[in-house]
Amino acid sequence: MEPILQIESLKKYYGKSTNQTKALDGITFQVMPGEFLGIMGSSGSGKSTLLNCIATVIRPTGGSMTMEGMELQSLKGSKLAEYRGKKIGYLFQNFELLDNLTGFENVLLPMSLHNVPEKESKKRLKQLAAYLEITDVLEKFPSQMSGGQKQRIAAARALILNPGIILADEPTGALDSKNAKTLMEKLTGLNRDENAAILMVTHDSNAASYCKRILFIQDGMIFHELRRDVPDESQQDFYARILKVMAQLGGGSANVL
């Protein structure tokens, strides 16, 4: 099977040579269609930089990123905008809904931006809304919704144009545990039913336990990889394994001064 996303020795350096920060220092991995991949690491490990590079809001210093045969760094103008809008869906930690638009209008925003006729996506919107349980709040403004509802509206917005991959940046970061659980379950369901690949950056071991594979990043490099043994391994066991790696990552004996 062809990978949907291929990252090859990706580098991102900040600052001049004398005082350089290596946010990403040669990262290589692949995302397969329908894969649910998690990326974990402590603050400043470079995981958000990685996601931003893939979302093409940051230009990497070196390496290459290919999606469906397209070299992302060579994209420009309308191609680039189309990539951002149609090929990827983005889920933010703070939802980033436009607070002066209703839920419905927020979900349809990508279509408005990319001139997609509304009719086509009306059906999809209905399906998504029903699945994400947001049909009742579509006419409301974000200020009238709960955090969980907001994030699910945001999820509908990310999915409306049927992207090949969803980039999620700490999607549970601003949610309580109950809403976080609901969201993760819905994302897992979408991943399973629609075969949409998800690339999720997170701190939260709990959320990460929904993934099929997890990459651990430290100081801009891949430090470890975990694979969930489906269906033999329970989510609970996978969670325990994640915690172990996290413990090493954060306070592993090698790092104690």
Binding site: I58, L98, N100
Partner: protein, 690 residues
Amino acid sequence: MFFELVFRNSRRDRKENGLFFASLIISIVAFYIILSLSKQDVMIFLQEMESDAVNRLLAMIPVFYGMTLAILFFLIYFASKFQMERRRHEFGMYLMLGMRRRKLFAMLLAEDFRSSIISLLIGLPIAVLLSEIISLVTAKLVGLGIIGHRFTLSLNATLWTTVGFLMIKLAAFLILSGKISRQEIQSLLAETPEGTKRQMPAIIYALALVTGVVFLGAAYYMAISGASWQHLQKMAITLTMGLIGTLLLFFGMRFVMSLMIKVGKSNRKLQVFNFRQLQENVIRQSNTMAVSSLLILAALCCFGAGVAIAQFYGQAEAHVLDYTFEDNTAQDGEQGASNIRNSLANYHLDTEFSDLFDMKVGHIRTTEAYDDVFVMDSITKELAKLPESDARNVLLNNLSYADYPYLISLTGYNVLLQRAGLPTLNLKKDEAAIYMDTEFVTNDRIEILNRILSDRPEAQIDGASLRLTGNVQSTGLVTDRSITLSFALILPDEAFEYYTQNQYDVYVNGVLDSDIINGVSLMTAISEMNKKLDETGLDYESYLQNMGRQLFYIVAASYITIYLAIMFLIIANTVIGVQFLMSQQKTNRRYKTLIRLGATYKTLCQAARKQINWHFGIPTIVAAVSSLFGVRALFSGLLSSRIQGDFSKLMLVSGAMILFLCVIEYLYMTAVKRSSNRYLLTLMVPEREE
């Protein structure tokens, strides 16, 4: 360190917020120009001629100064508010780092003072230069020539400009910093302060909209029908209704907005987003928008009135006479005339005139009665037969009062006609011509009368019958244009002497010799002649004084109204522009989200452009529509019937005004669009958020 920070901050502010800085400079220029009015060439010239009126106008300058102070405060307050809002986060940081509020206050005050001084240093020279240019241009326009223009720096004006500017700047600063200092650090640090958005049921907005339109309609009806001009109270009611109507209209506008979002289902290129942005702005700032719209309306009305008044007074009648002499001390007119001629001859001034002729004007003295001495039933009958029209009705009304007319002797009038290059009148013994000053007639009235006169209708003067003939005459009898006769008869000399019983006034009219005028401007020639005439002790009226009076009206009316118009326009537009940019910066997260969702720079700029168009368009269109009524109302209240009748001209003035407005709006919109594009470009560069 403290001063280093002050220095850096104020320099950054100037660079980043050009609009704010520009509005400071505009304020300074506006202050200086109004204060230096007395130093304008035209004013200095007029002061010699019409010192009374000029002094009265100049005495009004403190009032204009006060007014300027008030409206500029509005401008500065708004621009400073924008400036402060931008820096909320920074202030929060200073406080978090342990800066005491007092220190922060002192720092801001120092920054404010610094930027004020720099604005003054830049603004004052611009103001002086501009005021000189205006002085030269107006002098040139009114034909003064640039006789001995001297560079004038009005110290008084400079002083008061500085004082006024610093005063409103300080006042705005105190209010704004008071507001900021009362806030919690947390809310200062928050990126976008939560605006309270109280949504009311749609029906309330709809009602507000309808009520607003009704109020506005009522106000305009009152103003145009003339009811408002009868009484101060009624005027106050009209103005209040207009104000409330506009406020309600803008308050209710959000109803239209949500309707447009619902109806316009197509959501192409961020249309819904644009409307939601606009709706939010209208909701948050409907009052500011209403006030801006009213300011634009005020500007249009001022401009319209200024242009119309200038045109009215500027309608120069043919220049025929240079001087008119009158001797009020003499027993009778003839005696007076010979006294004048003798005096002129004594001072060897009679040779300076190419023409000195008598204009004899008197009353009917053959009877003691004052009513129905002159009867022209045949004319009124003819008039009454004509189809109903304004001109006919006015004529009927005016002529019904003309039963005791002035009499003018033919010889003097014919000399006048000759000098004016017009055909002279030939009157037989029992014939007379009608004289009506231009002030009281319009072209269509003259046309009607001339048609009737061509039949030589009969009239009775003190019982004797008389044939009225020739065209209606209206050449000015004397130099002074403010002396006008609404209705008079021109009689052959014998008839004139008989009916006046040799009791009449004689005005000696003079035309300067062309040799004297050659080489120098007429103004200079008359000025010099005036000096010589002053020695003779004669009573005289010169063309120059007359010109001066007219000039004064033109200059005073148009200068002040156009000045106010431009001020209002600048302020309204700056406020609208600043408001837009402020809301754009406040909602920068939304734009960032759009970029994440794949909006290109071009798409964002397009969206912003559309928003700007609407943002400026709404208040401007409301003002433009209102101005169509407003200018009409102003004309019906202020101007004489002569101009009022000229409806097409009036529309022309309105049209020109709206065109002018469009140009100004276009300039402002372009400036704001540029600024917005620049800002959006900064958003395109991603920040490192971790």
